[in-house]
C-alpha cells in the first residue's frame, strides 16, 4: 500500500487530534484521525507509524461485520502523487485500503471521518509539512470540484435519500393504520349484512361492494378479493364487448383470456386493468346480454368467444381436418388451422370429449386420431 508515508507521529502545528481508535489491523495498532491525516501507529512498535493525508481520500464506505469478520471501513484513494515522501511500500496495484476494526468503534470512526471529509479542514489550515493537495486551499470556502466534490455530493444525496425513505416509511405506517380501520369497519358491516340475510337493499350492496373495490379489501361475505358486480365492472364489460369484436372475428371467434389481457392493456397504455378486473368484467358478459361470453374449459383455460361462435360446430370441422391427415398433434393442428397451440389443444380435447377423436399418448407427444371405435362398429 503505497500511499502511506513514514511520519514521526507527532502532530504538526495546527493539526488536532479528532479521534483515536485502538485495535486496528495491520496487526494490532491504533488509528488516529486528525484534521489532516489518517495515522496508524503500531501497538507493539511505537516507532512504527504511518499516515495518509485526508486529501488523498476519494471515498469511504462501510462494510458490516459478519461471522468471523470484523466491521471494516474501506477507504478509496487517489493515485499517489509523484513527490510523495517515502513510505512502507513503493508501489501497489490497489487503490484502496481496508481498516479492520477488531475492537469495534467503527461506526463512530466512520462518522468522524465522513465529517472531516466534508469539512475539509486541512484546506483551511495548511500545516508546516507540505502535504499534497490537488487543489489550492481556500480558507473558509468549501469547493465542490473534482472527484471528491462529486463523491461528497453523492454522499449528501444518499443521506437525503435515507432521510426521505425513513420519512416515507413513517408516513406509510400512519397510512396503514388508517387503512386497517377501514378493514375493521368493512368486516363489521359485512357481519351486519350476513345477519340480516337479504334485508339489505340492492343499492346498499352495490355501494358496499364499490367501497371494498376502492380499498382493495376482500369481500368478507363471499371471500372474493374484489367487489364483483360493481358498476365499474359492468361498464368495463360493455367496453370490452366493443373493443374485442373485431379481434375475435380475426381470430376465428375465440381468444384466450391471456391474449385478451395483453391486447386490452397494450391498447390502453395507461390505467391498465388488473387480471381480476378483466375476469370480473367477463363474468358479467352473458348477464348483460353482450355478444361475447366467457368460457372455462375443463383444464381451467379461460377464453372469450363470440356468442355466434359455436365451438361444438368447430369440432366437426376439426374432425374433418384430422381425418384428412390421418392423425394430428396440437401443434400440427394449430399450424394448419392458424390458431394458438393452447386453443388448438382445447378444441381437440373437446372433440375427444364428444367422442369424435381418440388419443395416442406417448413420449413423442399427444396425438389425436378419428375415433374409429365409434364410426366403425
Amino acid at each position: 500500500m503505497d500511499r502511506f508515508v513514514w511520519t514521526s507521529g507527532l502532530l504538526e502545528i495546527n493539526e488536532t487530534l479528532v479521534i483515536q481508535q485502538r485495535g486496528i489491523k495491520f496487526d494490532a495498532g491504533t488509528l488516529l484521525l486528525s484534521t489532516h491525516r489518517l495515522i496508524w501507529r503500531d501497538h507493539k512498535n511505537h516507532e512504527c507509524c504511518m499516515a495518509i493525508p485526508l486529501s488523498q481520500i476519494v471515498f469511504i464506505e462501510e462494510q458490516a461485520a459478519g461471522i468471523g469478520k470484523s466491521a471494516k471501513i474501506v477507504v478509496h484513494l487517489h493515485t499517489a502523487p509523484p513527490n510523495k515522501e517515502p513510505g512502507p511500500f513503493q508501489s501497489s496495484k490497489n487503490s484502496y485500503i481496508k481498516l479492520s476494526f477488531k475492537e469495534h468503534g467503527q461506526i463512530e470512526f466512520y462518522r468522524r471521518l465522513s465529517e472531516e471529509m466534508t469539512q475539509r479542514r486541512w484546506e483551511n489550515v495548511p500545516v508546516s509539512q507540505s502535504l499534497q493537495t490537488n487543489r489550492g486551499p481556500q480558507p473558509g470556502r468549501i469547493r465542490a470540484v473534482g472527484i471528491v466534490g462529486i463523491e461528497r455530493k453523492l454522499e449528501e444525496k444518499r443521506k437525503e435519500t435515507d432521510k426521505n425513505i425513513s420519512e416515507a416509511f413513517e408516513d406509510l405506517s400512519k397510512l396503514m393504520i388508517k387503512a386497517k380501520e377501514m378493514v375493521e369497519l368493512s368486516k363489521s358491516i359485512a357481519n351486519k349484512i350476513k345477519d340480516k340475510q337479504g334485508d339489505i337493499t340492492e343499492d346498499e350492496t352495490i355501494r358496499f361492494k364499490s367501497y371494498l373495490l376502492s380499498m382493495g379489501i376482500a369481500n368478507p361475505v363471499t371471500r372474493e378479493t374484489y367487489g364483483s358486480g360493481t358498476q365499474y365492472h359492468m361498464q368495463l364489460a360493455r367496453q370490452l364487448a366493443g373493443i374485442l369484436q373485431v379481434p375475435l372475428e380475426e381470430r376465428g371467434g375465440i381468444m384466450s383470456l391471456t391474449e385478451v389481457y395483453c391486447l386490452v392493456n397494450r391498447a390502453r397504455g395507461m390505467e391498465l386493468l388488473s387480471p381480476e378486473d378483466l375476469v370480473n368484467a367477463c363474468k358479467m358478459l352473458e348477464a348483460l346480454k353482450l355478444p361475447l361470453r366467457l368460457r372455462v374449459f375443463d383444464s381451467g383455460v379461460m377464453v372469450i368467444e363470440l356468442q355466434s361462435h359455436k365451438e361444438e360446430e368447430m369440432v366437426a370441422s376439426a374432425l374433418e381436418t384430422v381425418s384428412e391427415k390421418g392423425s394430428l398433434t396440437s401443434e400440427e393442428f394449430a399450424k394448419l388451422v392458424g390458431m394458438s397451440v393452447l386453443l388448438a389443444k382445447e378444441r381437440l380435447l373437446l372433440a375427444e370429449k364428444m367422442g369424435h377423436l381418440c388419443r395416442d399418448d406417448s413420449v413423442e407427444g399427444l396425438r389425436f386420431y378419428p375415433n374409429l371405435f365409434m364410426t366403425q362398429s
Partner: protein, 258 residues
C-alpha cells in the same frame, strides 16, 4: 296468578321486539355505510397526500415496494386487486404491475418453443429487463413474482415452483404434481437428471422415476439424450440457458431434427 312470558301475547310481543331489533339493525348498517363512505373520502385524501410526497419512492425503490406490499397484506388489503382501487389510481402501483404482467406473458410465449413453458426466474428477469429497454424503470425479482401471482387469475396455468434457491415459472397449463416438482428440483443442479440419480437421491422405484420423466418429456419440458455416457440423460432446457449462445427460432429447431 299472573304468569309472565307465556301465552300468545308473549309470543306476539317477542316477535315485535325482534322486528324492532332487526329494524334497528338496518338502521345501524346504514349508519355504518354512511360512516364508511365518509372515512373512505378521508382516506382518499390521506392517500393523495402520501402519493404527492412519496409516489416516486414507490416507483424507484424496490425495497420500499416490498415493504408496502407486506404492510398491505398484513392488514388485509390487496392494492393490486383492481385498477380502479385507490392504491392503483393514486400511487400508480397498478399500472406498474399490470404492465409487467403483459411483459411476462410475452416473454414466456416467445420462449415456449424452446423450454416447453418452464423458465427460471433469473432468465425471465433478464429477458423482461431486456424488453423494457435501457431507460425503463428497474424491476426486481420480487416484482415479477407479485405480477405472476396476479396473472393466475387469468386461468393461464401460471405457476411458481421453488427449486434450489430460486423459482421456476410455469406458463402453460401442464399438470405438475409433487413428484414432478421434486424431480425438477433435483435437476436444477446440473440441468439434467437420470433415473439412477432419482433412485439414489429420492429413494424411488424405477417405475415411478420413469413415469415422472416420461410425463416431463410429453409436456415438452424435458429432452431425452440417449447418447450421454452411461445412461439416458433427461435435460431441462429451462435450466441450462447459459448453453444457448444464440437465439434459435422454432423453425430452425425443427430443421435440425432428423
Amino acid at each position: 296468578m299472573h304468569r309472565r312470558g307465556v301465552g300468545a301475547g308473549a309470543i306476539a310481543k317477542k316477535k315485535l321486539a325482534e322486528a324492532k331489533y332487526k329494524e334497528r339493525g338496518t338502521v345501524l348498517a346504514e349508519d355504518q355505510l354512511a360512516q364508511m363512505s365518509k372515512q373512505l373520502d378521508m382516506f382518499k385524501t390521506n392517500l393523495e397526500e402520501f402519493a404527492s410526497k412519496h409516489k416516486q419512492e414507490i416507483r424507484k425503490n424496490p425495497e420500499f415496494r416490498v415493504q408496502f406490499q407486506d404492510m398491505c397484506a398484513t392488514i388485509g388489503v390487496d392494492p393490486l386487486a383492481s385498477g380502479k382501487g385507490f392504491w392503483s389510481e393514486m400511487l400508480g402501483v397498478g399500472d406498474f404491475y399490470y404492465e409487467l404482467g403483459v411483459q411476462i406473458i410475452e416473454v414466456c410465449l416467445a420462449l415456449k418453443h424452446r423450454n416447453g413453458g418452464l423458465i427460471t426466474l433469473e432468465e425471465l428477469h433478464q429477458q423482461v429487463l431486456k424488453g423494457r429497454g435501457k431507460f425503463a424503470q428497474d424491476v426486481s425479482q420480487d416484482d415479477l413474482i407479485r405480477a405472476i401471482k396476479k396473472l393466475k387469475a387469468l386461468g393461464t396455468g401460471f405457476g411458481i415452483i421453488p427449486v434450489g434457491g430460486t423459482y421456476l415459472i410455469q406458463s402453460v397449463p401442464a399438470e405438475l404434481n409433487m413428484d414432478h416438482t421434486v424431480v425438477l428440483q433435483l435437476a436444477e443442479k446440473n440441468g439434467y437428471v437420470t433415473v439412477s440419480e432419482i433412485k439414489a437421491c429420492l429413494k424411488w422405484e424405477t417405475e415411478r422415476a420413469r413415469q415422472v420423466l416420461e410425463h416431463l418429456l410429453k409436456e415438452g419440458l424435458a429432452w431425452l439424450d440417449l447418447q450421454a455416457p452411461g445412461e439416458a440423460h433427461y435435460w431441462l432446457p429451462a435450466l441450462f440457458t447459459d448453453l444457448y449462445s444464440q437465439e434459435i427460432t422454432a423453425e430452425e429447431a425443427r430443421e435440425t431434427l432428423p
